[in-house]
């Protein structure tokens, strides 16, 4: 049984697609009697009220980054701190991350709490055009995030195909759930329930892109030569 859910998001704003996705899901889950904790970045102390059973934790960041990537890596440290406090205080059964921008907190929290990780990829860097100097490292982050997740949700066919081809995710690990269709939230909840009942094992089935291949191989079997030296 799922009782408490942690949702990680870059922000909770008005008329922003990821925020609307997270809010809509939170309202549905709360309606089912599930306690929802949303942890997100905000530079303003203004409280967000989404209704009974939904706790929105806004965390500030005291340092400005020189790029979105560097900023997000530091901002995630605040997401980790806040989520860890929630975990110690109340606990949660599922971690749900959204896009690469929550990756390091999602991955580290899943390892720290040993709770299952679900990730929604709203779009991949490849879909967004791969047009900045950080695109490659962001794509690596997306790869790691989807690699560590027990289940990856995509919102549309295009992202689904990008996940399959660009991030080389196996078919059984991705679920296509269109948030524009009625009742999509119930499908997400079903996935929560299935994944919390089964052991997370699917991550090992992922194919490996060349950029991280060496690392993963050596992670599994550290080279003896290195150890001796």
């Amino acid at each position: 049984m799922i009782k408490k859910v942690l949702l990680l998001s870059r922000e909770i704003a008005e008329n922003e697609s990821v925020s609307e996705y997270v809010k809509s899901l939170a309202v549905f889950l709360a309606g089912k009697g599930i306690e929802v904790h949303i942890v997100c970045f905000s530079s303003s102390p203004e409280e967000a009220k989404l209704g009974e059973g939904i706790h929105v934790h806004k965390v500030p960041l005291i340092i400005h980054g020189d790029s979105l990537f560097n900023w997000s890596m530091l901002m995630n440290n605040e997401l980790k701190r806040c989520s860890r406090e929630i975990f110690e205080w109340k606990g949660f059964d599922i971690i749900h991350g959204n896009d690469w921008i929550t990756s390091t907190s999602a991955i580290s929290l899943a390892k720290f709490t040993e709770k299952p990780l679900i990730v929604t990829i709203h779009s991949t860097e490849k879909e967004r055009g791969f047009g900045t100097k950080h695109s490659s490292i962001i794509s690596d982050m997306e790869w790691w995030l989807t690699y560590e997740a027990g289940c990856v949700l995509s919102n549309n066919e295009r992202t689904y195909q990008s996940l399959r081809q660009d991030l080389q995710l196996p078919e059984e690990k991705i679920k296509l759930i269109n948030p524009l269709q009625k009742g999509w939230q119930a499908e997400v909840l079903e996935i929560y329930e299935n994944i919390s009942g089964t052991k997370v094992e699917s991550r090992e089935k992922v194919a490996r892109p060349p950029s991280v291949e060496n690392h993963l191989q050596s992670e599994i079997t550290p080279s003896n030569e290195q150890v001796k030296r």
Partner: protein
């Protein structure tokens, strides 16, 4: 204590001084019964035990610049930290310089550990703050001092500089000097041929360091003609990598190319041998947070002529363990080198004083004890 240390470089990788600092410190901590785990960079994942210190080398990924590269590396460090923390909880996390600030802060916040941050130098001193990239590094240095429970700096002057630059409360900033491992000098086996570096009748004046503006090599080269006019039998040996061609052509233009010898990068054993063979070491730096070169020279019983700047203010005692010159001042440097070259007995006396000074004040044993004192304060074991 169970100590987690993050440093981007660790032996055998040696770029600046942070690697050997962490190695000497962690070995000493282990010998005092502490459990030390090092997270560092490696091109492939590996684990090893080096004299009781557990070392984990973690790869990063292709990144557009060093900041993003270190951010990615930080995440790898953090994942390893989570795993090691599950075996047994750490007491502290200790980060060195800005490159491990994201790791230190992430581990602090996720695992709820007290964080210690050592600043070895600042971007402002290294290259100046002149664009958004160097500003971000400066910001990360500040952020490290802001998030850390306790901050350690390696020099007294540098400690004040950092305290004002980053507005650090006096109660949480500490000054723990760097040290030298004297045994490495005493046990060194490599013997260089003196005749490869200078003629038998020549005195050797040695410079050791990166060939960069910060080290003030142009002032040394500028002082050479003045020294040669009084001591024609002098050879200037300049050991270190960096802007080699730039300084070689400068020496050629001044007309002293035949009296200067640029060795390029040398391994540590060879440097130690050179320190022992030199008559005098020079440290003409314009900026120097600590100035380890004066201590290394002292370990080899060779006195140092160094600028009165930063850490060199302490690591040289004027007319006792060496001589001070005005920073960025050719004539002053020239005068001090000449003074010391006149009197061999005086140089020997200063060299042995220098050696006594480091045997007393700059041992890793003391440094390790001060460091665990700071750890204890971060853990709120004492005030």
């Amino acid at each position: 204590m169970r100590i987690l240390m993050a440093t981007w470089e660790f032996p055998p990788l040696k770029v600046g001084g942070i690697g050997s600092h962490c190695y000497d410190l962690s070995r000493m901590l282990v010998s005092k019964g502490h459990d030390v785990h090092i997270l560092t960079y490696g091109d492939k994942y590996s684990e090893e035990s080096m004299e009781g210190v557990s070392v984990y080398r973690l790869p990063s990924t292709q990144a557009p610049d060093t900041i993003s590269w270190s951010m990615f590396l930080s995440h790898q460090m953090e994942k390893k930290a989570i795993e090691l923390n599950k075996e047994e909880r750490f007491d502290v996390v200790h980060a060195h310089d800005w490159m491990t600030v994201p790791a230190g802060v992430g581990i602090k916040k996720l695992l709820n550990l007290p964080m210690i941050f050592t600043l070895h130098s600042t971007e402002k001193g290294r290259s100046g703050i002149h664009d958004s990239y160097t500003k971000m590094i400066n910001d990360l240095e500040w952020y490290g001092t802001y998030e850390a429970n306790e901050v350690i700096t390696v020099g007294k002057d540098f400690c004040n500089e950092v305290r004002h630059m980053f507005n650090i409360p006096e109660s949480k900033i500490h000054y723990i000097r760097n040290g030298v491992d004297i045994s490495r000098f005493d046990k060194n086996k490599i013997e260089l041929e003196r005749s490869d570096y200078a003629d038998d009748w020549e005195k050797i004046v040695l410079f050791v360091g990166r060939l960069a503006h910060q080290k003030g090599i142009e002032y040394l080269l500028g002082a050479v003609p003045g020294v040669l006019s009084q001591h024609p039998d002098t050879k200037f040996v300049i050991a270190g990598g960096g802007a080699l061609d730039y300084y070689k052509s400068m020496a050629y233009r001044i007309g002293i190319a035949h009296k200067t010898y640029f060795t390029g990068y040398l391994p540590e054993d060879s440097l130690i041998s050179l320190f022992k063979k030199a008559d005098l070491t020079v440290a003409p730096s314009v900026y120097e947070p600590f100035g380890i070169v004066a201590l290394e020279s002292a370990a080899a019983r060779t006195p140092t002529v160094g600028s009165y700047v930063g850490g060199l203010k302490e690591t040289i005692i004027h007319e006792n363990t060496g001589l001070h010159s005005y920073p960025a001042h050719i004539q002053s440097l020239c005068d001090q080198i000449n003074r010391s070259l006149w009197d061999e007995d005086w140089r020997k006396w200063m060299g042995s004083n220098a050696r006594k000074m480091i045997e007393k004040d700059y041992t890793w044993d003391k440094i390790a004890r001060w460091t665990t004192g700071v750890y204890g304060k971060a853990m709120e074991l004492w005030d």
